[in-house]
């Protein structure tokens, strides 16, 4: 696909540990379109956040490419190999919103200083008044009252802190934002506020999002396409309605069956996954889900399945996934 805005090719991130290599992200390839939201779901420790950080190079990847289309021509730049000066320019284009609004803000800086930081370090404004206007407008955009500008993070609730985090990431007018579980630390009604805010911002400024979450209903609410991760690999990737209607990978099926339904009369089969997630340290060369899969056959234990396009636009990494 040539229309891809970001193309990730065979991205790997291994961490050396005492017991061997930890395969946090293992050979992941996918594309993100301009202006879409790609949901990234998976259970804790499956490598979602690591993948998100590799995308914007807060972590150096072990191998692979992250190609970001240039703004002015048709070429791309490989984020994983950008030089420090290229990276400085890229920081204005790719941003991140962190999961925990309690620890991602320096407790000694006021709201004003926190939002000003990206503007100051990138020397966006030489004029103090312009910067003041920009900060005011950012606070307004994310819904922070002006009177809070001298407050410190600990004086504010989780939702307001997350708004500061969002304002910081918007300050440089980025094109691409990694949202690393931006609502998982918030309670439900504030979650909805933040999700709506993110949606509105996307409509207004046509941001491209990668939305990382372990909560399927949240991801469904915001995503255009959803990628399901299991143990460092993407096992299924498709448009969000399609995923909920006809999941192809047995892991996705199990995940979907675990979403609670607020209906008493619906009797549906719950797929209970037996056993634990295997260790990501030196995983065997096989389907990583084989040990817990109810369809597993001999081939699953010998050959790792590739992520293939089973139906148009619907990718799955399973030997037995087929059109239904």
């Amino acid at each position: 696909m040539d229309g891809a805005y970001i193309r990730v090719e065979n991205l790997k991130k291994y961490f050396p540990t005492k017991r061997g290599m930890l395969h946090a992200v293992d050979d992941v390839s996918f594309e993100i379109m301009k202006g879409e939201t790609l949901g990234l779901v998976g259970e804790s420790g499956c490598g979602k956040s690591t993948l998100g950080r590799c995308l914007i190079r807060l972590l150096d990847s072990t191998s692979g490419k992250v190609l970001l289309k240039n703004a002015d021509d048709d070429g791309c730049i490989d984020i994983t190999k950008a030089t420090p000066s290229e990276m400085k320019a890229l920081r204005k284009r790719v941003q991140i919103v962190f999961q925990d609004p309690y620890s991602c803000l320096n407790p000694r800086l006021s709201v004003w200083e926190l939002i000003a930081e990206p503007l100051i370090v990138n020397k966006i404004y030489s004029n103090k008044n312009e910067m003041r206007r920009k900060i005011r407008s950012l606070m307004d955009t994310v819904g922070l009252a002006e009177r809070l500008e001298n407050s410190y993070p600990h004086e504010l609730d989780g939702g307001r802190r997350q708004r500061i985090g969002i304002a910081r990431s918007l300050a440089l007018n980025p094109e691409f934002i990694v949202l690393d579980e931006p609502v998982s630390a918030l309670d439900v009604c504030i979650q909805a506020q933040i999700l709506n805010l993110l949606n509105e911002l996307q409509k207004e400024f046509s941001y491209t999002y990668v939305f990382i979450s372990h909560n399927l209903s949240v991801v469904r609410h915001v995503s255009d396409r959803i990628a399901v991760m299991y143990l460092g690999q993407i096992v299924e990737l498709t448009e969000y309605r399609e995923l909920f209607r006809s999941p192809l990978h047995p892991y996705t099926q199990a995940l979907l069956s675990a979403i609670p339904l607020a209906k008493l009369d619906v009797n549906r089969e719950r797929i209970i996954l037996e056993g634990d997630v295997p260790s990501p340290i030196e995983p065997p060369n096989a389907c990583r889900f084989a040990g817990r899969c109810r369809y597993a056959k001999e081939i699953c234990r010998n050959t790792p399945p590739a992520l293939r396009e089973v139906m148009t636009g619907h990718y799955a990494a399973c030997h037995f996934a087929k059109e239904n």
Binding site: I56, R91, C104, N106, P107, Y152, G165
Partner: protein
């Protein structure tokens, strides 16, 4: 209604420094400490004007006198006025205390911050050198340095400073290591901050608390360290007055004339107490979480 907005506006007008000072002013203990330090500094600066006698002039007619109207704090074994000697001694002791700690704080702090932030081989190199320094007893190290540089006030301060560097380096490294892994450091990097800015703006302000406490205590131990050196003749040369030297000089007469050790001891204690109060107050004033 409009009165509610006024505190917000007035706070905006004050700079961060005034903000800290205002918060410091709310702590009575810190103000007490600050007052004592002001008095001491005043004494040190205007010693010629306020001291009633010369600090080195001997008066053998009035040896070992206990406090009286002529000599408020008594006289020592050569009949010198103890009050005057204390006032002049404040000069040397405060200088040694503050400058030596300053040297240790800046050098040790930078080394600790670098090794805590970059980790890896650089951290290993720096910390092993610090271990070497730590393995030598502090007094011995100071003696060695002064012996090499020659006895003088400046060299004494340098020596005491260097000997305290490893302590600061370790403390700073420890707190930097714990702050470094916080998410807001990653957030600063994502915003494009340089390493230097991250260290200066994010890591150091957040790892100040233990350093402030250590430096206020460090002034005390620097004064005592310098006193020890004066005692063995490598620091302040007699007859120049210095609190530590007075303390050790009076030591041999402590059974008969305890006032000779009591007053220098009290002066050291009061200085340290004041510094500790001030340090505690400063630590709290710098922490926005404790703002009321």
């Amino acid at each position: 209604m409009s009165t509610e907005i006024i505190p917000e506006l007035s706070r905006k007008k004050r700079g961060p420094f005034m903000d800290v000072m205002m918060r410091l002013a709310k702590s009575p203990l810190a103000m007490f400490g600050l007052a004592i330090i002001f008095v001491l500094v005043f004494c040190a600066v205007f010693a010629e004007v306020i001291s009633p006698y010369s600090p080195i002039k001997q008066d053998l007619m009035h040896m070992f006198e206990t406090p009286s109207a002529q000599h408020w704090l008594g006289t020592d074994e050569f009949g010198r006025d103890i009050l005057s000697r204390l006032i002049y001694g404040a000069r040397v002791s405060l200088q040694v205390g503050f400058i030596a700690v300053g040297i240790a704080l800046v050098t040790g702090g930078m080394l600790g911050a670098i090794s805590g932030y970059y980790t890896g081989w650089l951290d290993n190199c720096i910390m092993r050198v610090m271990d070497v320094l730590l393995s030598i007893p502090q007094t011995l190290l100071v003696i060695a340095i002064v012996a090499a540089l020659g006895p003088s006030l400046m060299n004494l301060m340098i020596a005491v400073g260097i000997s305290a560097v490893p302590t600061y380096a370790r403390i700073v490294r420890g707190s930097v290591l714990s702050i470094r892994s916080m998410e807001f450091i990653e957030a600063a990097r994502a915003a494009g901050s340089s390493d230097l800015r991250i260290i200066l703006k994010h890591i150091i302000p957040n790892s100040m608390a233990p350093i402030i406490v250590q430096s206020t205590l460090g002034v005390a131990s620097a004064i005592l360290n310098a006193a020890g050196l004066s005692f063995i003749g490598l620091g302040i040369q007699p007859p120049n007055p210095e609190w530590g030297a007075m303390l050790s000089g009076g030591r041999q007469y402590i059974r008969d004339f305890p006032h000779m050790t009591l007053y220098p001891g009290l002066a050291i204690m009061l200085t340290i107490l004041a510094l500790n109060f001030l340090g505690d107050g400063l630590r709290d004033a710098l922490d926005p979480k404790l703002k009321r």
